[in-house]
Amino acid sequence: MGLELFNTLILSLLVVVAVLSLWVRDLVVSAVIFAIYSFLMCLLWAEMGAVDVAFTEATVGAGVSTVVLIATIFNLKRKAKD
């Protein structure tokens, strides 16, 4: 029961966060929301027992790729045009 609730919570948060990251105009905010998405995925992997995958998601997905995205955004215009 508790696990079911946890899964439902995380999966619905995933959808919200995914839509939100496309919704916002500011690309830095979008990148940070992507990091949140990765952390939620990481939680989900860890809960399923795939700890190796969760670890990779936390380091690569939430850590380095966010930094790389932000490093790229700082060399662009910050706001999306449309």
């Binding site: 399923m48 969760a54 670890f55 380095v64 790389v68 790229t72 700082f74 060399n75 706001k79």
Partner: protein, 249 residues
């Protein structure tokens, strides 16, 4: 146009949601992944063949070693491609950036980073070296190692990080990582086995063939860690400066 795209995305989303109900439920013993003979072979033989408790690492670095080797090569080539494409471009210093970052490193930030960077690096070594016993391994440890240098670059500036890990050394370290991986493979070939057949390393190591596979996996993971950490830092250095490798964010 926007509305059409929205409807298209909605339709494909519904299609995926509809298809998702055919997936086996979580933990289903009759799921194709659980019932295939390959999985049961690995589950029953990993401990016997290799003495490695973490089955994921054993599959990744030993049974599927060839695959992981070329995954590392892909990381290497991707890093080289990004850096050489950005470096070749014209130097467009004049383009207006929306951000003007002040270059004075913050006292609180730098001192915090000074404290936590050694911890991150030791943790990275632990993840790398303990990868075949607990979750972790070359990729995760390498990324944590690269991230510690990125943290230095973020809190001081890129120049400080590049004095500790020059970009030329990044390429050397990345190449050395692949040479370590391929070298272990070639060594086992020279000792009479096939490429990456670590059990034959027992002829030069004073251990049983099973333990030879255990130790060779560690060697291979170290190679992966070298390449990944160097490429991660080089990627950041290149992307944050538009390929100029100076000033930084």
């Amino acid at each position: 146009m926007k509305r059409a795209a929205f409807i298209l995305v909605l339709l494909i989303g519904l299609l995926l949601a509809w298809a998702a109900k055919d997936f086996p439920t979580w933990g289903d013993p009759h799921a194709p992944a659980s019932s295939s003979p390959v999985s049961s072979h690995f589950i029953s033989n990993t401990g016997v063949d290799t003495e490695v408790p973490n089955m994921v690492t054993a599959v990744l670095a030993d049974y599927r070693g060839f695959d992981t080797m070329f995954e590392t090569v892909v990381v290497f080539i991707a890093g080289l491609a990004v850096i050489s494409i950005l470096r070749g471009g014209p130097t467009r210093r004049t383009r207006d950036r929306e951000f003007v970052v002040d270059f004075e490193p913050d006292l609180i930030v730098t001192n915090t980073v000074r404290l936590i960077v050694p911890v991150i690096q030791i943790f990275a070594f632990y993840v790398l070296a303990h990868g075949h016993v607990s979750p972790g391994g070359g990729f995760q440890g390498g990324v944590a190692m690269g991230a510690s240098f990125i943290l230095i670059a973020l809190s001081w500036d890129l120049k400080t990080a590049l004095t500790r890990f020059p970009i030329e050394r990044c390429f050397t370290v990345a190449a050395v990582g692949i040479v370590i991986y391929a070298g272990i493979g070639l060594l086992s070939m020279a000792l009479g086995g096939e490429f990456l057949d670590y059990a034959h390393l027992a002829k030069v190591l004073p251990v049983s063939p099973e333990m030879a596979r255990y130790h060779a996996m560690l060697g291979v993971e170290i190679g992966v860690g070298f390449t990944v950490s160097a490429i991660m830092f080089a990627l950041y250095a290149s992307l944050s400066t538009d390929g100029r490798m100076q000033d930084g964010l």
